[in-house]
Symmetry: C2
Subunit: 412 residues, 2 copies
């Protein structure tokens, strides 16, 4: 008998019928003798509808009042799911984030969890109840309702699992688990049975949007085993945990790609020690997130500083660089769109020195130009032409022995 936290997202509770289906799913876990805590998001489009209402009422939508407004979405879901569970004979109780003991910092729309007091949940579980908790929300020291921002409900589930010392945190979603690459790009993508937190983080950050990076970080910090699985099938999903077993002969766990990339460069910056620091400090102050950075000494005592940013940060990045150009005495600012990033991820590559070289060779053999390179202990990323990215993912997937024997099933 285990304590299991199950999280269902907005698409899993989009309608009364969906909610009844989730109730059955939760009940079947309880029927196996487990204690169950369920975390749910707002139904389908509820959040968007509420935002639209707010836009009609006011042009000044303070973060505190938006939190007050939007948290009603999850509150509706928990009440309905608790009723649906009662309807099929399961004793159940719903709790708002605050009632569930989720305390956050006094920040609205993107609060971090500061504390988790599980006493109410424990006492309801002890009465034999299934506890349904509103995702995405908490309460501040002053008693105000706060929200956790992006990835919020995943984070709620992991925080509850950590606070309750749950045996497992299951994240139900519309895919079967984490894949070795995007099944829409590579027909023979395979579902990964196990993956480590760090690998998952690299994949999450690289656009395999199954789990929010913040939830994975939280799970890693508190060592909460996460199971990503489908709400539509009973197939086993992907288990995310500290040390994942690597299959024999496979050093790379997955191939990620990201089309939301633009390349920027400051050409021929005079070689002064503080220049690199100045560039990235200034970008940070303007909230431009920089990804891959390449600095290359060329000639004439000057340096090219290149980096990538998300596409919607490009304009701001160029403004910053144009300001800096004369201050630093750089020759020019250039930018390039139409690029993409392809990455191989795997904890196994630390002990396999040839992995990066194999990636470069595979891309080169397929006439794909590598524009920039970045490496970490468990990842190698290359910036390439956006038109080549699907081909790159496909050839790397094959080269690193990731092709499955069967076609991946992709849920709609």
């Amino acid at each position: 008998m285990a304590l299991i936290v199950q999280k269902f997202g907005g698409s899993s509770v989009a309608s009364p019928e969906h909610i009844k289906r989730v109730a059955k799913r939760v009940a079947s876990t309880a029927d196996q003798g487990h204690s169950v805590v369920v975390v749910v998001s707002a139904m389908g489009d509820t959040t968007d509808d509420l935002i639209e209402l707010a836009e009609k009422v006011s042009s000044k939508r303070s973060a505190r009042e938006m939190d007050m407004l939007l948290t009603t979405g999850e509150q509706i879901s928990i009440a309905l799911l608790a009723m649906a569970l009662q309807d099929i004979g399961k004793d159940s109780i719903s709790l708002t984030g605050g009632q569930a003991g989720i305390r956050t910092e006094a920040v609205h729309s993107k609060a971090r969890i500061t504390d988790m007091n599980p006493s109410r949940i424990h006492s309801e579980l002890a009465k034999g109840k299934i506890v349904v908790v509103a995702g995405f929300q908490g309460v501040t020291e002053a008693g105000d309702i706060s929200t956790l921002g992006r990835g919020g409900s995943d984070t709620t589930a992991v925080a509850l699992a950590a606070g309750l010392k749950a045996n497992l945190c299951e994240i139900y979603t519309d895919v079967e688990g984490v894949y070795s690459t995007d099944p829409r790009v590579v027909k023979f993508a395979r579902k990964i049975p196990e993956i480590s937190y760090d690998e998952m983080l690299e994949l999450a950050n690289l656009g395999a949007a199954v789990l929010h990076p913040r939830a994975v970080e939280y799970a890693k910090q508190y060592n909460v085993p996460l199971m990503v699985r489908s709400s539509f099938t009973t197939n086993p999903g992907t288990l995310v945990k500290e040390e994942a077993v690597m299959e024999k002969g496979i050093a790379v766990r997955g191939i990620a790609h990201d089309l939301n990339v633009a390349k920027v460069a400051l050409v021929c910056v005079p070689n002064r020690l503080e220049n690199l620091q100045t560039v990235f400090e200034t970008l940070g102050q303007e909230s431009v997130n920089v990804d891959i950075i390449v600095q290359s000494v060329v000639q004439n005592d000057c340096t090219d500083i290149s980096f990538t940013v998300a596409k919607n940060d490009l304009d701001r990045a160029l403004e910053v660089l144009n300001d800096l150009q004369s201050r630093l005495g750089a020759q020019e600012v250039i930018s390039e769109q139409g690029v993409a990033k392809v990455s191989i991820v795997g904890a196994g590559m630390i002990s396999n020195p040839g992995v990066a070289a194999q990636m470069f060779r595979t891309l080169t053999e397929n006439n794909i130009e590598i524009k920039m390179v970045s490496t970490s202990e468990i990842k190698v990323s290359c910036v390439i032409d956006a038109n080549e990215v699907h081909k790159a993912v496909q050839v790397l997937h094959t080269a690193f022995n990731l092709d499955s024997v069967e076609v991946a099933t992709v849920a709609k």
Copy 2:
């Protein structure tokens, strides 16, 4: 400079446009230098929509979960109104019932307020903010969300006014105030400038549905002056307070009527002391609310016991009486529909002994048969044929000098 509590019902906040209009209304009170606390209900049909959702999900809708669900309606309203106020430059904050300090007993769907801690509201008012509070809801000792049931938002407003020692509690509604009778029945109904709590209670209970009786009782208990007025005009409304000034020559404040009446009788019950008690105790146990009771000794040592009930209690009342008939040895059970109650209400009638007689004379002169009579210190009610009720209201309104010189304006 005063502290004013203003309450706006669901029809006043039915759409974004309505909410913006309420915001302007509230702001104009604040602009006069007053501190303002606003209580709002759920937008228009929100509560009905939520109930419909719940019905689709579950046949077992526990009161606790229904409270969790329905209170989101008011939470949406308060957030939107606070934003609308911010939009027109008024510093504002929304508070749920619990945040506003409204503590209730641990009962769901019809909790009574046990305590009101105004500290958070006071501290927000001290910062110069307009405080917007969710009506209809509170929080139990255990931190669960409760609702106050019928008349809930009016009750919230009065409770806040009492707890905050407000100078005035304004109830905004879709009529101009309390009328001497139903303006849809009597063209020359007049708006009553002042009325006492007791008179208002009699009128409220008799179907002049402007204020919920519970809110009036609460206001009387804490001596909170209530102003009932229109959300669509700036005309003065009706002030409800302890001692209302009676206009000269007018002993009756208003004429109420009620069509939701059925008459029931147990014919020829043997004269035993305990029989009357048995009948009404049994009805009470079956939650049948009895209104007018008439007991008449006829002949042969037996008694007729007649009373009125609300129409939807008739079937249950008849079941009870049919059970009792043989136990008590009564001759038969009869019932009559198609009856109505007409009442005159006024604190002034205590010192005017001829008032009841004048009512009977007026009805008799107009060939309206009086089937039952009931009196209290400030009210005389007659049960008459339902077909005669509009005529009765009209002739009584004239007989007691209530006709206005102008036609009443009725808001749509």
